[in-house]
């Protein structure tokens, strides 16, 4: 981060913003006691986000403050050890839960009381994580009765915040383990037990009965049984079960498990877009979304191209400078395509309409009979009857600008299923993930390659959280995992290829694109599916993640 104070304008510029530059600009201005116009945040092209990076941290105030006070530019470079100690931690919850279920497997009731560790003090995410946990524990199933209660506890640890599939990675483990345990005790098939309890397609929009952040949790659309059927077939679940029955090499024990989950997408309600078209036929899209490496520029350019009708290659997407983009809510919670895309679509369609209406008058033709190209607007089938862009844009000073603000205060709910096939080595505690598959319905897919990239990357983080990553502290509160030698990120050898089935069977009615965000579904139920598979392999109920080799060996010996 670099902050520079300009004494002539009494303003400060901060380079290195991420995730939510407009929100952070407001916060910084407030803390300085300044007007927002005196603060400018500029996003730079460095690194991913995943929930932790980009929140307003103490240094986001202190560095600009130092720059203002000293009158000199101040740079802040955090090293990895500092980062591992101080960046928001997440995931520490302890749940005491109970499920009532009929002998035939029908769910009757679910109760859960849990502790959420928020660390030494409450940071910018407040109660977001436990709030998501308690409101989304019910998942894809019908529950006649549900009671959830949490206490968020301050402890002598690094403060907590959101991290990919926040609150849900945790409760997916809880719920899906409960379901498997219930199935096992009743002697029922774990897949069939899920099937008979899935919310039916006729029930949508489905009010779960809980509140998140003051809003009722209402699943917008879904066909849960259909995805289950498609996934079982596509991934050959019968084949996986047969594989499980075959003897493994040496002392290895085989197990398979699944986790069905509902994700949430599109928080923070609104997004801004401005589209500018110049006489040369160049299009500039300004979005309040930001880049964390997910390809937002590509997706928004695609949406613009589709709805404006100009070639993708002519479109440039710009973001991240709070001076050129007046407002925005950033990139988190799988919102950029959903809300950012909807805003771009709105602006693109409005711009197209303006151009065609103006050209229609000139050409004395109906807008529906007109074609827009980078040269201008012409009559379909009669390219010589054309109005050049320069003519159409003259009244606008050569550049036509259209803004859109898309607002939707309801969340979208993509849903999916994770499948895991593992071999566990009781002699070393190693877990080998032999196959992993993800089925995910996101409403509509704008860019399949980018979407699959999110699933694959999300899966890797799920593996990390299930098998490797843990912020340990010693008895006196000293962090033990403050380097990459101790905080273990998965390498290419720990992350197998993930098989993917992406469907579009339940578009969202909440935005004109039908899109539900997709960034977190690769992570959401990895812990659940692998914990179920390991429990299956060892005949012992896994109730805790991560599954370190020591924990596995203890379970295997039990």
């Amino acid at each position: 981060m670099l902050a520079e104070y300009d004494p002539r304008r009494n303003s400060v510029t901060v380079w290195g913003a991420a995730k939510i530059p407009h929100v952070n600009k407001k916060i910084l201005a407030q803390l300085l006691g300044w007007n927002e116009e005196q603060v400018r945040l500029i996003e730079l092209h460095v690194g991913g986000g995943f929930g932790a990076r980009g929140e307003f941290y103490p240094e986001d105030f202190l560095i600009p403050f130092a720059a203002i006070r000293t009158g000199k530019p101040v740079a802040w470079v955090e090293d990895r050890e500092e980062n591992l100690r101080a960046t928001n931690h997440s995931r520490e919850q302890v749940h005491r839960c109970r499920m009532a279920v009929k002998k035939n497997g029908t769910f009757l009731a679910l109760t859960d009381t849990f502790l959420n560790n928020t660390g030494a003090y409450v940071r910018t995410h407040g109660m977001t994580v436990p709030g998501l946990s308690v409101s989304m524990l019910p998942g894809p199933y019908r529950w006649p009765a549900y009671r959830g209660e949490y206490r968020s506890v301050v402890t002598n640890k690094t403060p907590g915040g959101t991290y990919r599939s926040p609150g849900r990675f945790e409760i997916n483990l809880v719920r899906e383990r409960l379901v498997d345990i219930a199935a096992r005790r009743l002697g029922l098939d774990p897949v069939e037990v899920r099937r008979i309890n899935l919310i039916g397609r006729e029930s949508f929009p489905h009010d779960v009965g809980t509140l998140y952040d003051g809003h009722p949790v209402i699943y917008d659309s879904g066909d849960y049984p259909l995805l289950l059927d498609k996934a079982l077939k596509s991934f050959d679940w019968e084949g996986m079960k047969r594989w499980r029955e075959e003897p493994a090499a040496g002392a290895l024990k085989r197990g398979v498990g699944i986790g069905y989950f509902v994700e949430k997408a599109g928080p923070a309600e609104r997004e801004y877009a401005r589209i500018e078209l110049n006489e040369k036929g160049d299009v500039f899209v300004y979005t309040g979304s930001v880049s964390v490496g997910q390809g937002v520029e590509t997706v928004l350019a695609q949406v613009c191209a589709s709805h404006l009708g100009l070639p993708y290659e002519r479109i440039t997407v710009l973001h991240g400078d709070t001076e050129t983009i007046p407002e925005g809510m950033g990139a988190f919670g799988s919102r950029a395509t959903m809300l950012g895309g909807a805003a771009v679509m709105g602006a693109s369609e409005a711009l197209r309409e303006q151009l065609l209406d103006a050209a229609a008058e000139e050409l004395e033709a109906a807008p529906a009979d007109l074609v827009l190209t980078p040269e201008g607007v012409s009559v379909a089938g009669a390219p010589s009857r054309m109005v050049p862009l320069s003519t159409l844009l003259k009244p606008h000073g050569g550049v036509l600008k259209v803004e859109d603000r898309f607002v939707c205060d309801l969340l979208g709910f993509p849903y999916g299923i994770h499948f895991a096939a593992v071999e566990v080595d009781p002699g070393s505690g190693a877990i080998h993930v032999r196959r992993f598959a993800v089925a995910y319905d996101v409403g509509r897919v704008v860019n399949p390659m980018l979407m699959e990239g999110q699933i694959s990357g999300g899966f890797a983080q799920g593996i990390g959280g299930t098998l490797l990553e843990e912020f340990s502290f010693d008895a006196s509160g000293q962090p033990l995992a403050a380097s990459f030698m101790d905080y273990l990120l998965p390498t290419s050898e720990e992350v197998p290829d993930v098989e993917m089935l992406v469907t579009e069977d339940a578009p969202s009615p909440l935005n004109p694109l039908g899109v539900k965000g997709a960034g977190e579904g690769g992570t959401a139920a990895v812990g659940a599916a692998i914990a179920n598979a390991v429990s299956d392999a060892l005949g012992v109920e896994v109730t805790r993640l991560p599954l370190s080799p020591q924990r596995v060996m203890e379970l295997a010996g039990a």
């Binding site: 990895r80 964390v292 997910q294 990357g457 380097s483």
Partner: protein
């Protein structure tokens, strides 16, 4: 202070440096080549990987003075021209083998050397060769694929030049 003369991407860079200046910092701050990234400074993540005399090396674990008289290659030297990417880079681009891009230069430096040693690797061999570079974004799947695609293209190119 010590004088050093280090060839980086074919250009000789001369400077006077403290012995404790890490090679990675020299490359970034003094040679101005910021494609080489610092992810950990303890030799685990691989984001700082450059080639020292053709071999992938963690530049955060070398002092600049140790590179005196040696050849360094960084990612900036990979593309044959301003208009054309290296076959590996092109394959990464087409196969979505990078997202935020922070780990990518280190991976390219590692894989370019790997393909010189093993022009016809199996996916398992690629995956194994990749294990010294951490990526948080992609899940590695597309990287393994892109390296395979590049390897095939490079074999074809080599085959057609005889």
């Amino acid at each position: 202070m010590r004088k050093v003369a280090i060839e980086i991407n074919g250009n000789l860079v001369e400077a006077e440096v403290e012995p404790r200046l890490l090679l990675a910092d020299f490359i970034r701050d003094q040679a101005g080549l910021t494609g080489t990234h610092l992810g950990c400074e303890h030799g685990v993540c691989g984001a700082c990987t450059v080639q020292l005399d053709g071999r992938p090396t963690r530049s955060c674990l070398m002092f600049t003075v140790q590179a005196n008289g040696h050849r360094i290659a960084t990612v900036e030297g990979m593309a044959p021209s301003a208009h054309e990417l290296h076959t590996l880079q092109q394959a990464f681009h087409e196969n979505h083998a990078l997202q935020c891009g922070f780990c990518t230069p280190g991976i390219l430096m590692t894989m370019e050397a790997f393909l010189r040693d093993e022009p016809n690797p199996t996916p398992a061999a690629i995956r194994s060769a990749l294990a010294g570079n951490l990526c948080r974004c992609t899940g590695y799947q597309n990287i393994v694929k892109a390296v395979g695609v590049a390897a095939e293209r490079m074999r074809k190119e080599a085959g057609s030049v005889s």
